[in-house]
């Protein structure tokens, strides 16, 4: 087999994994805190994509993409915050019902996008400096893909710094480790929940901007990534950010490398099989949080 082709697939794997990281980060953060999954997270990606479309139409220049990221982060974060306060925070004791209610939100957001922007896609013109390829080690690599990886690394780094060295980050880690004790110490756990939910949604907004660079923006653009993003969270283990990152790389590379041998739909089936088999050995996911509590 051609070595260059394999290296190309590894590169593709990392690039797909970067998208999964941006899509699943918000899910993993709020799953770690509240044990709920937001099924409308894919539509928050979609909102980010449409914000990118609008912003780049308003701010054409080479820096339009960064303006789009800031705008998408703000809009998606706000949307996530509203969703948390009005719906999710009322249902945290019933995680399965949260899945259903947020699925309802996702249907409404999809249909709203269809009514506003039409069912056919709109396309975002990437700035000229992204629109070429470079040659590294005998491989022609699209700059867009490298840019996506850089965004994922920057977001992960920024988040780690935020959680490590800000006051809100400290509160988040406290609630994550021991919710009742943190509450007893006077931490307003509800506000921490809402803040993290909004932050995670903002990251998904940035993910949406990145998706807009790869193809047309449709009302279903989030759906095509979100089911795998859910699997990434499951594989990562109890909302651990590190576990989620490793899981995203595992699934991204597995999908890309299995496509050397089989077509893309079979690769999807195999990656699900891979997750199920992996969970046979580590049912807690990649990173298991040690706890003496009996119920997880």
């Amino acid at each position: 087999m051609d070595l260059g082709f394999i290296i190309g697939q590894v590169f593709n794997g990392f690039s797909v994994a970067s998208i999964y990281i941006l899509a699943a980060l918000g899910l993993a953060l709020s799953f770690g805190l509240m044990r709920v999954i937001n099924m409308a997270h894919g539509e928050i990606l979609m909102v980010g994509s449409y914000v990118a479309y609008l912003t780049i139409a308003l701010v054409p220049g080479p820096l339009g993409i960064f303006a789009a990221m800031i705008a998408a982060f703000a809009v998606a974060g706000l949307l996530g915050g509203v969703l948390e306060v009005t719906l999710v925070s009322r249902l945290t004791s019933r995680p399965l019902d949260t899945l259903l209610a947020t699925w309802g939100v996702s249907l409404i957001l999809q249909q709203a996008a269809r009514d506003i922007f039409g069912a056919t896609g709109v396309s975002v013109t990437a700035p000229a400096w992204l629109d070429h390829t470079i040659l590294i080690g005998g491989q022609t690599l699209p700059v867009t893909r490298l840019f996506i990886m850089a965004v994922a690394v920057a977001v992960l780094g920024g988040l780690a710094a935020f959680l490590r060295s800000t006051r809100i980050g400290l509160l988040v880690r406290a609630v994550n480790q021991d919710r009742p004790t943190a509450a007893a110490m006077g931490v307003d756990v509800r506000r921490v929940d809402a803040a993290i939910f909004a932050l995670g949604s903002g990251v998904a907004g940035i993910g949406g901007v990145v998706l807009a660079l790869l193809g047309p923006v449709t009302p279903n653009v989030g759906q095509s990534y979100i089911v795998t993003a859910f699997l990434v969270v499951v594989l990562g283990g109890l909302g651990s950010t590190l576990g989620m990152t490793i899981a995203a790389l595992m699934i991204g590379l597995f999908m890309a490398l299995s496509q050397i041998f089989v077509d893309v739909s079979l690769a999807q089936v195999l990656s699900l099989l891979f997750v199920i088999l992996f969970l046979q050995f580590r049912p807690q996911g990649v990173i298991a949080v040690r706890s003496r509590a009996l119920d997880e």
Binding site: L96, L100, D115, V227, L231, V275
Partner: protein, 362 residues
């Protein structure tokens, strides 16, 4: 405390009996179009009943019931396709895709006997294997729901991609005979309707019996406190495997009956979106009530039929609203308005769920 059982017929039972009588004579009073709709939706209500067992009583949410629905539906549709063919002929879509030989997993369903057995066995066997892998490692709750959703996606993608073997995106349609009977004759459609109704009634009493049995008690105990069950020396896993597999069997039969009434089975009926819609029928009807699930399936599907033909873009808003409403305002569904049967303890469920959620975040 519930009052002691009396000999007289209580009003609720009288209403249901009247509804059943109406359903039996329906072929003589409603139009052929509406009869077909009722038949379809009654077929779907078997899926709903499976979810009452699995989700309401077992506390296990599956977002991948479409897989079992599809397995039952495709097994029957494969048989129907072959029933129309002469010796050595291939289904039309296979010829178009350049497939020259009938695959073995098609050929075994040529005989009506193996096809009927296949409808029962294929979804159930797959469910046993899948749920055993999950529950033996105690994977449940949100994890389980998300994995079943991925399963639904993988199943639909696989069906679409294997055009020459599964009919691809269009699915399997255009068949005319079952057991040598012409499916287009009014007498056949009427017989199919009664068969569906009979299966729904049988499934209802079967489930009532199952839920009232020792198995039902253990299943609810496993839902409300699996660790307590373990301390008492039981393994909750097998109870959930049985619940999942019985639900899958009902769903497979449901898919096969639906295929007969609708005349088509396709990936669009089995993927992620239809799978989660199946849950909303039960959420609206009442997840702890078998009758509620039947009623919920009929109500939601009739609403879908009426709204989506009149105002197509409104339906998704309505459906989204239903999801939100069902869990925030009506956690026990419509059945919650009609009192509770003796094994339903929603108030206790709620308390336990809150207690567990507080514990779980430590």
């Amino acid at each position: 405390m519930s009052p002691p059982p009396s000999r007289t017929l209580d009003p609720k039972a009288a209403i249901w009996l009247a509804a059943l009588l109406l359903a039996i004579i329906a072929p003589f009073i409603v139009s052929a179009y509406n009869l077909n709709l009722i038949g379809r939706f009654l077929a779907l209500s078997l899926t709903g009943m499976g979810l009452v067992l699995l989700w309401g009583e077992g506390g296990v949410l599956s977002l991948g019931q479409g897989v079992f629905f599809g397995l039952g539906g495709y097994v029957l549709a494969m048989h129907l396709k072959m029933a129309d063919l002469g010796q050595g002929e291939l289904p039309d879509f296979m010829t178009w895709s350049g497939v020259t030989k009938l695959p073995v997993w098609w050929a075994i369903f040529r005989s009506p006997v193996t096809a009927m057995l296949g409808i029962l066995i294929v979804p159930t066997a797959f469910a046993v294997l899948f749920s055993w892998l999950m529950f033996r490692r105690r994977i449940g709750g949100t994890y389980f729901a998300l994995i079943t959703q991925a399963l639904g996606l993988a199943f639909a993608t696989l069906l679409i991609s294997q055009q020459g073997l599964t009919g691809g995106f269009n699915g399997l349609t255009d068949y005319h005979t079952l057991f040598g009977l012409n499916l287009n004759l009014p007498s056949t459609t009427r017989a199919l309707y009664w068969l569906t109704l009979l299966l729904v009634v049988l499934a209802y009493f079967g489930l009532r019996w199952l839920l009232a049995s020792r198995f039902g008690t253990m299943l609810r105990a496993a839902r409300d406190g699996s660790n307590r069950i373990r301390f008492l020396g039981y393994d909750p896993g097998p109870y959930k495997v049985v619940a999942f597999s019985v639900a899958a069997m009902l769903t497979g039969v449901s898919g096969a009956l639906f295929t007969l009434h609708a005349g088509v089975i396709s990936p669009a009926l089995v993927g992620v979106v239809p799978s989660i819609e199946m849950v909303i029928w039960v959420a609206i009807g009442g997840r702890y009530s078998v009758l509620g699930a039947i009623a919920g399936t009929l109500i939601v599907n009739f609403a879908k039929d009426k709204i989506s033909t009149a105002l197509p873009e409104l339906w998704l808003y309505a459906l989204g609203g239903l999801f939100i409403l069902a869990v925030t305002a009506l956690p026990n569904g419509l059945a919650g308005f009609f009192g509770s049967d003796r094994w339903k303890r929603p108030a206790l469920d709620e308390t336990l769920a809150r207690w567990r959620a507080r514990k779980a975040v430590s």
